[in-house]
Amino acid sequence: MLKEIIFYGRGGQGGVTAANLLASAALKSGNKGVQAFPFFGAERRGAPVKAFARISDEEIYLRSQIREPDVVVVLDTGIMDVVNVTEGLKEDGIVLLNTPRKPSEVEMPCRVATVDATTIALNNKILVGGIPVVNTPLVGALAKLLDGVNIEAVKEAIKERFGKNAEANANAAEQAYNEVVL
């Protein structure tokens, strides 16, 4: 089964890294096909950006950008004023929001999952330039929402990628995995 995921965030927030981490974790979880790539735009720090990931138990040959995602991840809900994040979302698709609110408190025309990645990042003291790192907890939360990606693989992918702070990022991912609500 092919699963397609879009990450929406701001330039510099780690959306592309989140997509790459998810791809690594998916491969470690036993998937045969994984792919992650940035939207081929002119990214700028702070501007709305997106990244894509594909996961499948079979090899992936498809090369086009993702237009009908199964899951959408929003790193910063502030961009929802200017970006329609549910565009093209599959009928039973899920939007995962980084917010302290519960899904019942969010009005969206689709299934909504929430996790307070910002608070989790602050509690685990994962900050870059004073800004909370929300991408690693969100990938942890995705392990709960996606069949075929397990949290141990996510933690392993994080540890491979980050030298120092690997432990704190892996802990944040696990916490988000436990706290995400659908």
Binding site: N20, S24, L27, F37, F40, Y61, R63, Q65, R67
Partner: protein, 397 residues
């Protein structure tokens, strides 16, 4: 020399795969200038040097013209060299490309295909590599990141073969490969070095035995050099097939020589693609086959030398051939379309050209499906045009 590196499975970008391939081949000299979307290749390689994994000489230069000049000099002095570029960088290098090939220096240079200005764009188009057709290099295109890594390794073996001795230019699509991560199986350095073996230059610039190369040469000699270069390019056809076969035996991945035929055996129509659109086309061929349509695909790997015999052989048994191009020779058609028509000279077959994805426009499944639908019409003699601009404003099909 490089440190011993074990085989491993990685999830990496095409750019990383290219740099890692050069590392495994134990290149001696890298001279390069950064340009998006190639920059990661030389950036990653400079990290390998910084980390002490290789003692290769990394030369920072002030332009791509200088990068190729430095590679020519290093290779002529007996070093295995590597560089990489894109778009305007390749255009600026053009003058030096013919010098590298005519001096018969087997340099390997991945090019990340990027549109050539104007207007300025950083996305995928083949109008940077295609105009290098007559530079005398082996030119090919990769479908995925695994092929990028494998092709860098094979490129050294092909280029350094005594019957070839020519530089090689493997291309990879901007962003669609250069910045996309996917699984790549990397062999160990021992396996790679055993496969490509130690570089034995055919002539070395040596201060103790001075000589000059590429000097002022009168008409009495140049024509024979051109003939030998032409023979070497023709020799490359067999060497490419032999090397891919040997690679398949050693590493278990078969690239089938100059082309790969996908479901062509009983096909009524076939589409020729190059680069990443091949992957999307594989899915479409499977989907259309499931509906009973007899369609096939030719993945064109090499542009120089061009696989004339291979394409003719498949064309004999099909009713129409389509050629997908990611760049245009204005007023005539896509470069691969022109090559294909030349290859099929004398055969009475409809050949149709599809232009899509220029300037980096996303090529989606529907675009490729449309190409096959037009081809099925061409088979019945019902294609209205010879050149179709897919998903193009102002053009109705």
């Amino acid at each position: 020399m490089i440190q011993k590196i074990d085989a491993k499975k990685m999830v990496v970008t095409g750019d990383y795969a290219a740099a890692y391939g050069a590392l495994l081949c134990d290149v001696d000299v890298v001279a390069a200038y950064p340009i998006t979307p190639q920059t990661i290749i030389v950036e990653e390689f400079s990290t390998f040097v910084n980390d002490g994994i290789t003692d290769a000489e990394f030369i920072m230069v002030e332009s791509e013209h200088s990068a190729m000049s430095a590679c020519i000099a290093a290779q002529a002095a007996g070093a295995r060299t590597f560089t990489a570029t894109s778009s305007q960088g390749l255009a600026l290098m053009h003058e030096m490309l013919s010098i590298a090939s005519a001096l018969r220096l087997p340099i390997v240079m991945p090019v990340v295909n990027r549109t050539v200005a104007a207007p300025i764009g950083i996305w995928c188009e083949y109008n940077d590599t295609m105009p290098q057709r007559d530079s005398g290099w082996l030119q090919m295109s990769c479908e995925d990141n695994q092929e990028v890594l494998d092709m860098i390794i094979m490129a050294y073996k092909m280029g350094e073969h005594k019957d070839v001795l020519l530089p090689v230019m493997p291309a990879l699509d901007a962003f669609i490969l250069s910045h996309t991560v996917e699984p790549v199986d990397a062999p160990s350095s021992d396996e790679v070095l055993d496969f490509i073996s130690h570089y034995k230059p055919h002539a070395i610039l040596d201060p103790d035995n001075p000589m000059a190369i590429g000097t002022f040469t009168p008409p009495e000699y140049i024509q024979e050099l051109r003939y030998q270069h032409h023979v070497a390019m023709n020799n490359a056809r067999k060497v490419i097939k032999d090397v891919t076969k040997e690679f398949a035996q050693k590493f278990g991945r078969d690239y089938h020589g100059l082309i790969e035929a996908y479901k062509c055996d009983d096909a009524e129509v076939v589409l020729i693609t190059m680069g990443t659109v091949t992957g999307t086309a594989r899915d479409i061929v499977d989907e259309m086959r499931a509906k009973g349509k007899k369609v096939g695909l030719i993945k064109l790997r090499f542009y120089r030398p061009f696989p004339i015999e291979e394409i003719r052989k498949i064309a004999e048994n099909v009713d129409a051939i389509g050629v997908y191009d990611r760049s245009i020779s204005y007023g005539t058609g896509g470069p691969m379309f022109i090559e294909t028509k030349n290859a099929l000279y004398g055969m009475e077959k409809p050949v149709v050209n599809f232009l899509a994805g220029l300037g980096g426009r996303d090529v989606v499944k529907g675009d490729v499906e449309k190409m096959f639908e037009i081809l099925l019409k061409a088979k019945e003699g019902e294609a209205k045009e010879e050149i179709y601009w897919i998903n193009t404003r102002g053009v109705s099909i």
